[in-house]
């Protein structure tokens, strides 16, 4: 069952089409990475899902309801959108009390949320003195306040140190194991690869692909590396079989579009010796760049 359904969602800002007929689902109890280069439309999509931005057309629902129609939205959905959405003169504890009071959440949850994000010691400090990482944790505490079944996080790892990133990964996996649905946008691709079950990749407002991480990296772009003294002869034979072949060294080929077994049989038939055969699996980052045609500098800040 889909916890989040995006259907034909479009948002235009004047002549600019930020999100263009976007459709995808997020299954309940999964952690889904929402990826795309800057300007791809990720934040706009999340804000439409949360009722903060009105779609030009299409629908975005959570548990089959528009966010604005949820009777107690923050008990159903927790969201972290920006790390700066705090009054600098308010303490962390009072920020959470405001959020709890507005949502009708018991005051006792404030201390629980502070404890989960490890901010109890700094609870009575004003947020203006917090680091970016502490603000991210406070944002997460706000999102977790209502113990929601769905979490929507926009770049939650921003500002976290490596220990914080590891903490976030553990937290998200723990929440997923408890059945929480998580949609998390990020440009830290390596981090997403270790955290999510599947990814939705967006580019220029369009859906590029939705797939599990394993499918995306193992099947989509499997490359076989072959070391042979007769590379030129084997290359011609592979090209004839419609495989894609790249010669990376005088005795080394990188082949896609054929499995190691198929290459081995072809080489045996030709009497070509193979000294080494290994599968080179693309990582998510490679696939991401390939799918969005992005330069690294556009994506990795």
């Amino acid at each position: 069952m889909a916890a989040i359904e995006i259907r034909d969602l479009t948002k235009r800002f004047g002549a600019l089409v930020a999100v263009d007929h976007l459709s995808f689902d997020v299954e309940a109890g999964t952690v889904v990475g929402f990826l795309g280069p800057n300007g791809a439309g990720k934040t706009t999509t999340l804000r439409m899902l949360l009722g903060l931005v009105t779609p030009s057309s299409g629908t975005a629902t959570i548990n089959s309801h528009r966010y604005v129609d949820l009777p107690t939205p923050t008990r159903v959905v927790g969201a972290v959108l920006e790390s700066s959405n705090f009054h600098p003169g308010r303490t962390a504890r009072n920020h959470l009390r405001v959020a709890a009071l507005a949502a009708g959440i018991e005051r006792s949850r404030v201390d629980v949320a502070l404890d989960v994000v490890e901010l109890t010691r700094d609870a009575d400090r004003r947020v203006g003195g917090f680091s970016l990482g502490m603000r991210q944790r406070l944002g997460l505490a706000t999102a977790l306040l209502g113990d929601p079944g769905v979490l929507i996080l926009d770049e939650p790892a921003n500002g976290l140190d490596p220990e914080g990133v590891r903490w976030l990964r553990t937290l998200l996996r723990g929440l997923a194991e408890e059945g929480t649905t998580v949609l998390v946008s990020s440009h830290i691709l390596a981090e997403v690869a270790q955290t999510v079950d599947s990814v939705v990749i967006l580019d220029r407002g369009h859906l590029v692909t939705q797939s599990s991480v394993a499918d995306l990296t193992n099947h989509r772009d499997q490359v076989v590396r072959i070391v042979t003294p007769r590379a030129a002869e084997l290359r011609v034979a592979l090209l004839a079989e419609k495989a894609t072949v790249r010669k990376t060294a005088p005795d080394t080929l990188q082949v896609s579009g054929a499995t190691g077994e198929q290459i081995g049989l072809l080489a045996a038939g030709l009497g070509v010796p193979i000294f080494e055969s290994s599968t080179v699996t693309s990582n998510l980052e490679d696939v991401f760049f390939q799918l969005t045609h992005s330069e690294a500098t556009e994506v990795v800040r």
Partner: protein, 254 residues
């Protein structure tokens, strides 16, 4: 709705800005009324400032609550536009997606904060006025009932202006622009319009609010009756709030 109002009131008390604004209202009112009381009975060319032992002299001091009322209105604007200055509107609308309910709750917070600021202004003006009168051994030429009426009028005017400020702050999301606009409107625009067209002065919203607190419009024209002035200021606050709810309040939070 009660919960939302409690939330907005808690927001007021959980930062220092509200206490700061109340203190500023008290301080400025004290400064203005002390200056007015000090000048009472003095001569400026052919002009004589009414002395404190006259009705007009004491009245001038007791009704110098205009600066506090301006601050009540400005703080109302801060309540609404501050959400955009600090980006907290996102969290507010996530908790309460029906935005007109948020506007209504903020208006009540504006009423409460404005009433408090108006009350502080009235209390300070009355204290200063009576202190000067007693210090000089003058008779008190204004009855206790009238002084109470000025004070309650100031509380009411502060409340209505606080709500009007919330409406303006919702319409103009920039806190700086909203605040400067209100100061300019109260201290400059209405003064100019009232000075040029004396007959229009009682119908200007800030002037009408000050007349609730006992002040007289410029040009010596008669103030609107209490109920009419109340209705005028309330109508202006509601009209701006309706305009905001149909325009800026609906805008995307990007």
């Amino acid at each position: 709705m009660t919960r939302l109002i409690r939330t907005e009131l808690f927001k007021l008390t959980s930062t220092r800005s509200y206490a700061g604004m109340v203190a500023a209202a008290g301080g400025i009112t004290a400064l203005v009324t002390i200056l007015t009381a000090s000048r009472a009975g003095s001569h400026h060319g052919h002009m004589v400032v009414p002395p404190l032992y006259t009705f007009n002299g004491l009245h001038d001091v007791l009704t110098r609550t205009g600066p506090a009322l301006i601050l009540a209105m400005v703080f109302g604007a801060v309540i609404a536009s501050g959400e955009f200055r600090f980006g907290t509107a996102t969290g507010t609308y996530l908790a309460t997606p029906k935005r007109t309910r948020v506007l209504a709750a903020k208006s009540v917070a504006g009423l409460v904060s404005g009433a408090t600021i108006g009350g502080i202004g009235a209390a300070v003006a009355t204290t200063v006025g009576l202190a000067f009168v007693h210090a000089h051994g003058y008779p008190t030429m204004i009855s206790g009932i009238s002084m109470t009426r000025y004070a309650l009028g100031c509380v009411l005017a502060g409340a209505l202006l606080g709500a009007a400020g919330v409406a303006v702050g919702s319409l103009i999301r920039s806190q700086l622009v909203a605040s400067v606009s209100l100061f300019a409107f109260g201290f400059v625009v209405e003064e100019i319009i009232g000075g040029l067209y004396n007959g229009a002065a009682p119908y200007l919203p800030f002037t009408a609010a000050t007349t609730l607190a006992g002040a007289h419009p410029v040009g010596g024209v008669a103030a609107l009756p209490f109920a009419a002035a109340t209705a005028l200021v309330a109508a202006v606050a509601v009209a701006i709030a309706v305009l905001a709810s149909r325009t800026t309040v609906r805008q995307d939070i990007t």
